[in-house]
């Protein structure tokens, strides 16, 4: 399976930013500081369980419900 990582990251950014482009940018930056670079993942990226678990933990820290 593929694309789950991008879907989760998009959801985090959308929920956090609520349409504010400035918050889109800062949320992307925060993800990079946490070790996940959203631009590295596409709809074809394989669903790596370790990365998915890491993203779910980050979402919880950011107060985002996935």
């Amino acid at each position: 399976m593929a694309g789950e990582i991008k879907r989760l990251l998009d959801q985090i950014i959308q929920q956090r930013a609520r349409g504010d482009e400035l918050i889109v940018q800062t949320t992307q930056a925060k993800l990079i500081f946490k070790g996940i670079n959203p631009s590295r993942f596409t709809s074809d990226s394989p669903d790596e369980p370790i990365i998915i678990a890491k993203i779910k933990a980050i979402a919880a820290d950011l107060g985002v419900n996935l």
């Binding site: 930056a29 925060k30 990079i32 500081f33 820290d61």
Partner: protein, 367 residues
Amino acid sequence: MSLKTAHSSKLLPEAVADLKRGCGNLAPRAILCFASTKYDPAALSAQMQGAFPDACLVGCTTAGEIAGGTMMNGSVVAMFLDEDIVEDAGAAVVHNLRGAISVREAFVELENHFRRPISSMDIRKHVGVVLADGLSGAEEKLMERIGDCTDLTFVGGSAGDDLKFKQTHVLAKGQAHTDAAVLLLLRLKRGFEIIKTQSFKVTGKQLVATKVDEASRTVLEFDGVPAVEAYAKTLGVVPEEIQSHFRDHPLGLMIDGEPFVRSPQRRDGGSIVFYCQIKEGMELQLLEATDIVAATRSAVEGRKKALGRVAGVIDFQCILRAQQLRAEGRCDQYGAVFSGFPSVGFSTYGEEYLGHINQTSTMLVFR
């Protein structure tokens, strides 16, 4: 008048009297003060709060102070912001940075002061200043916790101790704290801008951290080989020489084409210890030094031109940049960049903006 700066190199209590005179008739709502370790931090904080009982006071100890474009040592500098700049100001302390950091209590304190949830605050009118214990080694975790809790911008620096590397302090509301950070939240009348400037260009040579010890800010391996070996090979030098290249060739975590600098501190066997954390899997660009003064001038003048009016600037400048400017005898050239508007700042043990960074100046620009 909406903003004033002042400085003194006298001892306490005369130094506070000097700052009070420098403030003149201004009624400050917020005061930021940055001081050499020659001042007892608790006494300075108490005397400053005593001199300005109605102001929200924050500050920290430094590794050098900046006021009006002059880089100094052994002094105390202050910026006074009145109601024309700051509509409201609140401060809170985050304790126990070396433990499990929680910013919740500090945020609740700020919410109580502003009488509204942080999440409801306009991110273009509110800005946070963060001053952290520069020897805590915990700024990354602190910035992550802050960023988790809010979308408000927090900018600042890590407190210094005049290069003694023994103990730093942050100041808030008449007290001094170590192993702590102070958060100042400002609601501004005309908004703000952030400048993040570093004097490096990207070389196009990349290193990926494949084995790290985050807690000790150590990279054990880049690209699957010992960090020293990989860094040396990428730079094109022998491993024995790498430390002499650290200052001019740090690494950059790239975000939107901008490097967020991670500076190597020292070799530890085959590993490299950095001044800030690198996480496993991070892709980093090898950077090459350019001119500090030119890069800073370009960043500040560009923003000045875009804004038309700059009411004042706080400069959180890395001690490594300050040391280089001093060694090259270019402090006056650097100071000249800040002519035309009031400014204060200090030489930091690390800079904060979105995360913890090195060899950078982060600046809060008041409009």
